[in-house]
Structures are given as structure tokens and as C-alpha cells.
Subunit: 197 residues, 2 copies
Amino acid sequence: MSVIDRVTSEFSRLPGVGPRTALRLVHHLLRTGPDESRRLAAAIEVLAERVRPCATCGNFGDEEFCAICSNPRRDTSTICVVEGSFDVGAVERTGRYGGVYHVLGGRLSPLDGIGPEQLNLRSLFERIRSASGEVREIILATNPRVEGEATAVYIERQLRPMGLRVTRLATGVPVGSDLEFVDGTTLAQALEARREM
Amino acid sequence: MSVIDRVTSEFSRLPGVGPRTALRLVHHLLRTGPDESRRLAAAIEVLAERVRPCATCGNFGDEEFCAICSNPRRDTSTICVVEGSFDVGAVERTGRYGGVYHVLGGRLSPLDGIGPEQLNLRSLFERIRSASGEVREIILATNPRVEGEATAVYIERQLRPMGLRVTRLATGVPVGSDLEFVDGTTLAQALEARREM
């Protein structure tokens, strides 16, 4: 396999990158020259060497504890539970959340062999217990799909005996969307959860 | 800048990769673990170290001469001139071309400061001259856009005194397309260049 074919096939392993896109990326690197390729390779290498899950919440970061967990101004009484570290960024970008996170590293999916043991759930329960009452609310922010919903329901049942507040992100019509393009299930839920103005 | 931000910004430099896609790629690498990242980094590093333009045609390859130029079964009397090495792959995939290539490394674009001196044109003319009559046809396969057309016209003028056959890829309606969706210029050219059945 030629070097170009090898890099193309490596790029193709990335999500959303087909063989044609991969080839285009490789030719872009060839056009821009070896320095550009070396920068990219070095950055990815550092990613492999340095980035690891936070010892507390499982979010990825450069240190033992992630930037959020090591920030003394974050409210540790509220934990937002998300499927992946990607979702932490999504919630952070809202600028409306001051609590901390817990990254599950997936969602329950029996068909793929992902049960409670495969998720960072034990560390969540231990974290709540060891905080001895300091944690007051758990926001379940798993994705509003079948598996994310099942994961939320499972966690809620486990947490119920602990007597803390367990909430779920609201589902409904996305802000700025046209009702015409909103799926029926979402619209039905939005109708049911309608609020006084 | 955190390691994740740095890799994300490096990925964003690739064509067609916006900040969101870049972030998704980085999180994919984090999910799949350091070995996957190291493989990708190593492949890109090898690309930077090993791949270089062919000494004859300018196409990228692992050796001094590319796989096509060093293949004794290729017909060196026909040279297909393309803008980039990406285009070599496109012509090769047709399986209908047995000649060799010459990669210009771009197209004439005065507004971007790209004149004849910035393209691999001198090497094309020298290549034809040093073959002392062996080259019989030049196929100008620059892209059928304004700049590619201008580049083809420029090269044709330079080659005219040499007395060889200079051809251009046919333009017309793409096979399998609907006339409805073909732009007017293409349709006009297809009409003008119509053939007897």
C-alpha cells in the first residue's frame, strides 16, 4: 500500500469521512506541504499522549482533574449527567450552567452489549455517596432518543432511594424552528408540556 | 490553549472541516483511544516525510519518480496535463487512459498572483523538448472553468510552434444527468458539439 493510500485509509476511519473526502484531505496536506502535515500529526500525537478522562467526572482534559472539576467556582451540588464529553461542550456553550458534570461514556444499549457495567455509573453513585449529602440535584441530560431515555430512567431508579432531586432536560419544539418541520412525537410532547404564558 | 482546543483548531484548517466537525473528529479519537490517534498521527507524519512530487511529472508519490512515470507500459507519447495530483486519480479511475501526466500544481489566476511562472510549466516544455519528437499529443485536462480554460489556452499557444497535437477534454452534458439540472452554458456547448448518431 502506498503512503498516500495508507493515510487516505486512516482518514477514512474518521466519522463522516468517506474515501473521497479522505483523498481530498490528503491532497490538501500534500498541496500545503510537509510542515502543515507535521503540525497536524504532532497535535494528534499530543492528544494521544496527554488527554485522559478526568478522575472525577470522566470528561476529557489535559490533567488528572478536568478544567471544570478543578474550577472552585463551579457548584458541586448539581451534577449534569451526559452521554459523552462532546455533550459537556454543548451544555457549556449555553453559558447557563454553573454545576459540574458526569460523563457516562455512552448510553445503555443491550443490543450492542452496553449494560450499566459498561458505563461510568458506579463512579457516579460513589461520587454522590462520598459527597455525603452535598449533592442535591442530578440533571439527566442523556440524548432524547430511545436509548438515552432508557439510560435516564435506569439512573433515576438507582438514585431514587438516595432522596435527591433528579431532573431531565425538557423536550419540545426547538427555538427558531418551523412547526411544519418538527416531528410528531416532539410536537405531541411540546403540546402536553405546554406552559402558561 | 488546551490540547483538545489545539487539535480541534488543527483539524479546522482542513478543507470542508468546520469547528463543529473538527470537534466531533477529536472526540471520536478520544473515544476510540490513544492507539487510534497514534496510528493517524504516524500515517500523516510518514506522508510529510516520504511523499514528494515526481521529478518528471509533478504527481505525488513515495519515490523520486511516481508510479505512473516509472511504469514502462505507460505510453509516454501522450501527456495529459492536469491542475493537481487529485485530478490524476480522477482520470486514472476511468481506466481509459494509458498515457502519462503532467501536474501543473494549480491554474493561472492573476488575481491570486498565480502566473505561468508559479505553475510547473517550464518543466512541461522542457520535457517535451528533451523527448525530441517522441511526444505526439498533449491533452489539456484543466478544469472546465474560466481559469482552467485560460490556462489551457495559454499552454496551447506556447505549444503551437512545437507542431504537436493539442487536445482538450470534451465539455457537455454529464452522463446520467437530467437536462433540467444542467446549466445553460454546458447545455449550449453540448448542443454546439453535437455528434451524429
